[in-house]
């Protein structure tokens, strides 16, 4: 199946700084991507998504960038807060089965007060 991976396993940032979490994917035919946030003891929660016909999408304090040329995704969190501390996963929708998602290895974000 598709392969999705992350560059950094852990990221520590100071409260108030911006955070950038990166992700690489392998299937150039993938057309839809999602970032999930998983807090301790909980299931992953949807943060933001992006389709392959877009380069950038903004939400509340979060921005996802998609670079199809190098098959790279990033999640930017503005003014990082302690509540942002979690593990973040990118997920790539399967190109053959649109109901399947393949998850990257995850980045743990630690926000220091």
């Amino acid at each position: 199946g598709e392969s999705v991976g992350l560059h950094l396993p852990t990221l520590s940032v100071q409260e108030g700084d911006n955070s950038i979490i990166n992700c690489a994917y392998s299937n150039s035919a993938s057309d839809y991507f999602i970032w999930y946030k998983q807090e301790s003891g909980k299931g992953p929660q949807f943060i933001i998504d992006i389709r392959s016909n877009m380069d950038k999408r903004q939400g509340q304090r979060v921005t996802v960038l998609l670079n199809k040329t190098v098959k790279h995704l990033s999640l930017q969190i503005a003014a990082t807060q302690p509540g942002d501390s979690a593990v973040y996963f990118c997920a790539e929708r399967g190109s053959r089965n649109f109901n399947k998602f393949y998850f990257g290895s995850g980045t743990k974000l630690n926000v220091k007060p």
Partner: protein, 115 residues
């Protein structure tokens, strides 16, 4: 938004035994999915639970080890059979809802420890 309830939330089981995990959704969904998340790892799809037909398993997962039931459009179970310590993981139920974004909504997971 719809709610997914998983039971049990956690369990400690003896090796060689089996555990059945339940997933209940408060609205009808066509497809339900079971994922495994090993300690400190990402999520791996085990199988797709299809209503009215057998589950579809991913490579590396077999029905004898992870039998799945899907009796209706709001409920599914995953059984972890003949458990060993290597089965210690979080098991997550997820669904795709027909409205809103096209991603998964996850249950809170079942944390399984096999001793």
């Amino acid at each position: 938004s719809a709610v997914i309830s998983q039971k049990p939330s956690r369990d400690i089981c003896q090796r060689g035994t089996s555990l059945t995990i339940q997933c209940q959704v408060d609205s009808q969904v066509t497809m339900m999915f079971w994922y495994r998340q090993q300690p400190g790892q990402s999520l791996t799809l085990i199988a797709t639970a299809n209503q009215g037909s057998e589950a579809t398993y991913e490579s590396g997962f077999v029905i004898d080890k992870f039998p799945i039931s899907r009796p209706n459009l709001t409920f599914s179970t995953l059984t972890v059979s003949n458990m060993s310590p290597e089965d210690s993981s979080i098991y997550l139920c997820s669904v795709v809802f027909p409205t809103g974004n096209y991603g998964y909504t996850f249950g809170s997971g079942t944390r399984l420890t096999v001793v």
